[in-house]
Symmetry: C2
């Protein structure tokens, strides 16, 4: 969005395709691109930002048609799929790279552009708490605040904008917390029976698993979400180098070593027993 | 702690009195002052940091004995109670002022000192989300990360170090959420009946009220904690300029316009009805 705003303000003809399922928590940012001409031309170069693989952009294959693709990214697994690739794995956020680019270009960075860039750095560093919260990420965030980004407003919109349903779902999941092996494993459960407000939309349970990982001593956590009778969505998290991706794969799912997921066709009890068994294997318990 | 470390390393004789009820979430910082000579001399100057009123330091009245008091603070209501007063209301944190002081002095700032200063800025700015999250707070945080402060570790210790009891208390309070006036008022409840792990320690419910304030549309929130039969501790929060300190005062409590509290001798239902009535008056409802 920042790149779009800034290039538009420089007089470039740019088009920004927003996904249909634009996340609700970023809804306030829509106005950052309002009022700019954005008719799709079907020609010109394609700039892909913060995307490590071509397949994630569903229209790129059919609409590339010999157009140049410029890839700007900070993921280290980016295979350089563009015609021009600017990939900086040391950068905390692609938004941070865009900020540097705009300054290099002497491009306009107004309050809304600064806000979009701030949101990129804030979210990619997990509110300045991940290992990519480098000195540079703080310095650049400070510059963006100088340029008009408002940390209070932006943090509130992205992180403290719960629906009451979401609040209640957190409550149910946390109340149903159950630990195993002296708290090394923690299970949270969202069952259909105890909640009226239950929705299968991922947005309604997003981030709940992180509460489990906020408990001291927990090495592996799982959230069991009953999305339909005998259909359980399982989210897995781990730390200290424990790899839970194999657990997810065992049940036909996938993911990363520290964050994986799967769906199990069984009732809650059976699903939890099966997952516990697999986690025990990973942890070396008999 | 940072000031103590740094002054000690400069060869000064310094004593740092820690409070008996040193908060558990800062327990990891104890090692920052281990190994330094800290026998209490009963003489020399007294440096008071981040404290806006004399009365908050219970030993200052009896032990001042003509010793000079140096007050370093960023609260705008500081009445300059020291013999020497350095009060900067524009500063995001007293820890930030200490950082500037240490740099001015050319004092040593090692990894642990930088970590203590980072924690001061991080907590006082609410993880860089309050209105005091100024450009300077980001720039200084970045410098401290350069000097060895580890955002991931420090954020984890201070903010993601829940006990399982605390997790379950959040769950109960959130599950018991009840809204009034189309969600403008939100009540959370921690009752003795539904929780086994209930503890009256403030630490065990600290911050739960903030979840209520994270719900969109909520202007006033209250947490009702049944600390004994017919004894309800009420925490109040508000935004958009709504003053709830009067509600707390009505029940013999006190606080700030946006954060106040009181204790009511009544059962939960009676206490909630009474508080709701007072909040309605503040909001101008009949």
């Amino acid at each position: 969005m920042a790149l779009f705003r800034s290039l538009s303000q420089m007089g470039k003809r740019v088009y920004l395709p927003l996904p249909e399922d634009f996340p609700r928590k970023y809804e306030f940012m829509r106005k950052y691109i309002n009022g700019f001409p954005n008719s799709r031309t079907g020609e010109g170069d394609i700039i892909v930002v913060d995307c490590s693989c071509e397949e994630r952009i569903n229209w790129l294959g059919t609409e590339r048609n010999g157009r140049k693709v410029i890839s700007i990214d900070h993921h280290e697994d980016n295979p350089n799929f563009g015609d021009l690739n600017w990939v900086e794995p040391e950068s905390p956020a692609a938004g941070d790279m865009i900020f540097h680019l705009l300054r290099q270009l002497g491009a306009p960075i107004d309050e809304k552009t600064a806000s979009a860039l701030y949101v990129a750095i804030m979210t990619d560093t997990g509110r300045f708490s991940f290992s990519n919260a480098t000195p540079q990420s703080f310095f650049d965030a400070g510059e963006l605040v100088k340029l008009g980004a408002n940390p209070r407003f932006l943090t509130g919109e992205v992180y403290f904008n719960f629906s009451e349903d979401y609040l209640r779902n957190i409550g149910i999941a946390l109340f149903n917390a159950h630990n195993y092996h002296n708290g090394r494993i923690l299970f949270l459960t969202l069952d259909r029976a105890t909640t009226q407000s239950f929705s299968t939309s991922p947005e309604n349970s997003e981030g709940i698993i992180d509460f489990a990982m906020s408990v001291r001593g927990v090495d592996v956590a799982a959230l069991f979400k009953e999305i339909a009778p005998s259909k359980i969505r399982v989210s897995l998290r781990s730390r200290r180098g424990i790899d839970v991706s194999g657990v997810a794969k065992f049940f036909g799912g996938g993911g990363h070593p520290n964050a994986a997921g799967c769906t199990i066709d069984a009732n809650l009890t059976t699903a939890q027993e099966a997952v516990l068994e697999q986690i025990r294997k990973v942890l070396g318990y008999r």
